[in-house]
Amino acid sequence: MRWYILHALLHKEFQRHLANRGGIALGLLLVAAAVLLAVFAPEEAAAGTGMVGGVHYCYVEFDRVTPLISHLQENTPKELAGQIRFRPLATADDINELVSYPTGTGAIRIRQVNKPGERPVVQVSVWHPDGDPAALAPYEQWFWRESRRAFAEQSRKEMPGTDLPPDPAFDPENRWLVMEAHRRFQDQVEAARKVGPGNPPVVPDLDIDRKGLGGRILDFRAAIATGMVVFALYFSCVYLLPTLNCEERERGVLLAQALSPASPIEILAAKFLFYPTLGMGLAAILAGIYKPAVLGSLFFWLSLAAVGGGFLGIGMTVATLAKTQRAAFLGAMCYLLSVSMLLLICSTNGIPFVPYLALEYHGPRILHAALAGDVAPKHWQHLIGALGLATAWLTAAGWLFRRRGWQ
């Protein structure tokens, strides 16, 4: 490796970017966005909701199978069929007796208490994502409507010919309204029965409890900063590297360099040095503007290296496979779309393990943890995963380059 050749190649890359001002403009826009994020951000606005709003699916958990549970299972609406998951409470994942819910989920937990001589009680706990109490609205709407129908059916069975009132309209998010509507219904049923002192009541009491799922709230500003940092790395390594490399190949200047005393290893080394440095430099500037303290964090730099290295491997793979600049651009875009779709499908359908194979699953998590200053042991596991995937991508890129080269 000769320094004067490496220096010439690096200087050439730098000057090419200086001559193509689009990349500089984009970098400046990102820096401006980071400055705005850092300056116009009151501390109290830091808390936010999940990165993706709403819930992807809702657990309906029950302590035992009763006619109410059977009715709910039989009357799941088509539009929510894929999103409602029934499970006995005994099978729920718990840690220290606390049920753990994945991100983007909620739960309606039903416990049914029968004490001799007393009216039965249905305890309903609605567990919504923190900071977003309306996220479970479609599920609650369904649950209250069907539970009401279940109680009505039960009453009709016990009192054939009873004329029960129509379903009242109520706001499922308003606990008081739900309780009031239920009490009125209980009264109407009791009146219909002409209840005697010794008869057991038919419609159970409701005990409603609404809570946030707890856990840590996603820092929305940190999420935006994470997005910018990831974008800077992606733009430099997966977009700029393959497209400019393929442009050189198409124009024949890559051949001209290959015929000069510069060896293929030196040409490759210059690309390997320039683009990750550019991406990581821009990413560090953005992160530093957002939160200067993060630049002193080892976890942040390791995360940056893991994600930058992985993106470099992906970029080199695209650069080796694509023959033209257009193919490189399309390759980078197709990769991004494919991985996004994969992660979305896995997330919405609860498919386990597959997302672990995507660098884009671990990368934003570790960078967000570093930027939010909230590094937990699980983030170190994600970092190890990201480093492993980066190594795999770089190995694959190196293997492909040796087999196919750039000519």
Binding site: Y4, K12, A19, L259, S260, P261
Partner: protein, 279 residues
């Protein structure tokens, strides 16, 4: 200086070069001619290390192009048929970049720009250059490190007469300084004018190899076009006894109004040797 021994290059089952033997001496300007698909470009591709020979050996200054490629790289300069510059850089910056790779001082870029008469346009971006200027910049790049060997693929295509003359002058000067040059061209006048020797390849094989003058002598038709005083035209073959006698009789009888010997026709010779239309 450059030796090709039994060079054979296959693309699948098609032999682009089929047992080519060539020995190009140091300080020689060698013209490589041939119709489309004759194997000229493949031969050049082997010489610049972009294609491995299927069989045979190729050496440049005693170094094998496959095994000792790293030793050969600094020895040669290459002018491709398709220009390949960094469009966003100026002509000077393009040369300075390649000069850095060759480890030559910056002033060398200025010198070669002047040599190819691009010094006035040196600080303009290449995207604004004409085809001819781009071609001259390619030659300037190839000359940066004063290579001992030059490969040129149609170096004067798209050049005006003056620029072509400049290129010819530069090439002759390089040859005087001891450089070895191989050029492919379609310009027959150029071959006659500047090449020391010419190799004509067809279907991957060498069909003729000699100096333009020897080829001229070997292939000039020794025929005379005669117009008699009565207006009749005839062609007299000087290679036969009856032909020579017929011409002598006509001259002695004073019956010749006009008489013209035939000139050497490189195109006709080329067609005769290759049996194909010229590209």
């Amino acid at each position: 200086m450059i030796r090709l021994s039994g060079l054979r290059v296959l693309y699948g089952s098609f032999a682009a070069v089929d047992g080519l033997d060539l020995d190009i001496r140091g300080g020689e300007l060698f013209g490589l001619l041939g119709p489309n698909g004759a194997g000229k470009s493949t031969t050049i591709r082997v010489l610049i290390g972009q294609r491995r020979p299927t069989a045979g050996t190729v050496t440049v200054a005693g170094h094998d192009v496959v095994r000792e490629w790293a030793s050969i790289k600094p020895l040669f300069g290459y002018v491709p048929d398709r220009e390949n510059h960094f469009e966003e850089f100026t002509g000077r910056r393009n040369l300075e970049f390649f000069g850095q790779l060759y480890g030559v001082p910056k002033r060398r870029a200025r010198d070669v720009l002047k040599m190819v008469e691009l010094d006035e346009a040196a600080d303009l971006p290449v995207r604004g250059y004409s085809l001819g200027m781009r071609k001259k910049l390619l030659l300037a790049r190839a000359l940066l490190h004063e290579p001992r060997v030059l490969y040129l693929d149609e170096p004067t295509a798209n050049l005006d007469i003056h620029s072509a003359e400049v290129v010819h002058r530069i090439l002759r000067e390089r040859v005087k300084l001891g450089a070895t040059i191989i050029l492919t061209t379609h310009d027959m006048d150029e071959v006659e004018k500047i090449c020391d020797r010419v190799g004509i390849v067809c279907r991957g094989k060498l069909v003729a190899l000699d100096s333009p003058l020897t080829l001229k002598q070997a292939h000039t038709e020794r025929k005379v076009d005669v117009i008699r005083t009565d207006g009749e035209r005839l062609v007299v073959d000087m290679d036969t006894g009856p032909g020579r006698r017929q011409l002598a009789d006509l001259v002695v009888a004073g019956r010749v109004a006009s008489l013209r010997t035939r000139e050497f026709d490189f195109h006709a010779t080329f067609l005769k040797l290759t049996g194909q239309a010229f590209e």
